[in-house]
């Protein structure tokens, strides 16, 4: 099926429809990325720009110099490898908790009366009306040693000493889960709200208790929503900078922070670019997996109907 679409001539109307987003992506995603890729193969030098050119024409010879210093350092210096692993671990934990917390929320909203549903959805979207920076600042106020939470718990006599959460990995996790939860809930909600309630009734009718019905009908049918939401949480979490910078301790390692340090503190553009390129590659793997599962699902739904 997909091959027949590929080989079909594109009518001009279709080209017109596809062109704007295509041009947009090329101009603002592909071209900048190629620039970053180019810089990642350059060498550090003092001046403007602070990196060497890749191609040089000198003495009637065109020389192309690919400097692999950044990449070599990435794969030899254990600090970088540890940072990547730590970032992925952070993102995985964030994603798992977003699934565990977000699924019941999305389910509840989807099963509510339509009038209540909209109010709850606004509740999920409302935080976006405030800038992320402000919301993370608010978390500092909550989590600090002399912050709202510790004062409250100590006032109630539940703890004697303030809980040290601020400037730890736990604070980063709380911040990441808080910030990315809506990105999980919304696509899952869109999926769950379309689920035919009669399928659940059919499961009950055939003897499935509510939990069995959930695991054998609702959950498998909502997997596309879970996957979409999980990708929306995982991918930006890996490269997140603001939250680990503001809530994390000095030892919280995340790629975003390393990139920042290389770029602004060390002015090592090639190194920062190499860090970025490897991260993009890292993120492409789950994306490809996601795309593959989507295509397979579309095929299963209607692809073989004519066969």
């Amino acid at each position: 099926m997909s091959t027949s679409i590929k080989h079909a001539p594109l009518p001009w109307r279709r080209i017109l429809t596809i062109a704007p987003p295509f041009v947009w992506l090329v101009l603002f995603l592909l071209v900048p990325f190629l620039l970053v890729l180019k810089i990642s193969f350059a060498d550090l030098q003092f001046g403007v720009p602070p990196y060497t050119a890749l191609a040089e024409f000198k003495d009637e010879a065109l020389s192309l110099v690919l400097n692999l210093r950044g990449y070599a350092l990435l794969f030899t210096d254990s600090l970088y490898i540890a940072t990547y692993l730590e970032s992925v671990r952070m993102a995985v934990i964030t994603t798992i908790f977003c699934v565990l917390i977000g699924y019941p929320m999305a389910y509840y909203i989807a099963r509510s009366e339509p009038s209540v549903r909209n109010v709850l959805l606004i509740g999920v979207i409302l935080p976006f009306w405030t800038s992320l920076l402000l919301r993370v600042y608010a978390w500092i106020g909550i989590l600090r040693n002399d912050g709202i939470m510790n004062n409250l718990l100590m006032g109630l006599g539940l703890i004697d000493q303030p809980l040290e959460i601020y400037r730890t990995d736990l604070a980063v996790h709380i911040g990441l889960i808080y910030a990315y939860l809506p990105f999980f809930i919304l696509p899952l909600y869109a999926n769950l709200v379309k689920l035919d309630v009669r399928l659940l009734e059919a499961a009950y009718d055939l003897g499935a208790r509510p939990w069995r019905a959930f695991f054998s009908v609702t959950l498998p049918l909502s997997m596309p929503g879970v996957l979409a939401g999980a990708m929306l949480v995982f991918i930006p979490s890996v490269g997140e900078f603001v939250i680990p910078e503001m809530l994390g301790g000095a030892d919280t390692l995340m790629i975003g922070r390393v990139m920042w340090t290389e770029f602004f503190n060390n002015s090592d553009w090639p190194m920062a670019a190499a860090v970025t390129c490897v991260m993009v590659l890292l993120l492409l793997i789950p994306l490809v997996f996601f795309q593959y599962s989507q295509v397979r699902q579309l095929d299963a739904r209607g692809g073989r109907r004519n066969g």
């Binding site: 035919d196 009669r198 399928l199 009734e201 059919a202 499961a203 009950y204 009718d205 055939l206 003897g207 499935a208 208790r209 069995r212 054998s216 009908v217 498998p220 049918l221 299963a300 739904r301 209607g302 073989r304 109907r305 066969g307």
Partner: protein, 375 residues
Amino acid sequence: MSEIRPGAPWSGSADDFVRIDDVVKIFGDVVAVKSVSLNVGRGEIFALLGSSGCGKSTLLRMLAGFEEPTSGRIFLDNEDISSLPPYKRPVNMMFQSYALFPHMTVEANVAFGLKQEGVPRNEIHTRVYEALDLVQMGAYARRKPSQLSGGQQQRVALARSLVKRPKLLLLDEPMSALDKQIRQNTQIELVKILDKVGVTCIMVTHDQEEAMTMANRMAVMSEGRIIQCGTPQEVYDFPNSRFVAGFVGSTNLFTGTITVDEPDHVQIECDQLSRPLYVDHGVSEPLGMEVHVSIRPERIRVHREQPEGDVNWGHGVVSHMAWMGSYARYQIRLDSGKLVEASVSRLAMAQNDAPAVDEEVYIDWSDDSATVLPS
């Protein structure tokens, strides 16, 4: 069991295998079902007939366990199931749109109910293929529901609802998702399968032909109540109200007053007709009472000559005629202005040189054709 034929009077024992006892269902301030009592016998195919919003679906959902009655009780095989959740009832339902699980194969769909029961794996396999063979879908076991036609999906849904050998099978508008052309055959085929299995069945439909084709008995519902309950023939021939007469088949309604009331006949004076109505059954209404009389279109004969008797005929002009293929539908405007519908068979038309539009005609009918409606 094999003697039960579609539409034939049900001849099983008149036990009350399913007993619906004074059931009421209220949603907010809407009374969906108002005090319904009903008995259905073992092995019977029973139809709840009514237009949308009459409460038939709510009643079915209470039988399945998706709704709990506000008051009243439901018994199945002498067990009170009124407040049992659906997954504990020996009741299975074939849903209107079939509600097949789209992510499972045909085989997994049918096996689902048995898996919940914890039936051993090899027994599941045997019973699934038994059920699929019963509906002639064994060859499609590995397909997904989206790869089947509507009729095939219906068969799978039927197999899925029969595989657990329920005490009671519920059918929710079983034919509504099928094309009209294949409905009639499917109805008869479905009844054959149900007879073969011997399952007690309650179906909901808004299609009176479907109810009459498939059911041994039926109940006509309106506004949350059962208006009349009986065999399709009883309900068709002796409707108990103007509503039923009009809902089950089409009919001609006349209004008149009773002038003679004997045990074996009544005579009714009717301004809309040239002669009084004579009905060969007694009624319980007093003399002088205004009553309604129903005469089915196929009971009315159309002639050019004036009928001989001095009752049961009228005079008018053909205002419209439509060929329906196997019969012709006449509309005749009587002298009183009343419009009467008559179905004239091809046989009668051939014998009688069919009257044309604008021709003067007489209509008449036999003594046993009319039914006096109590309400």
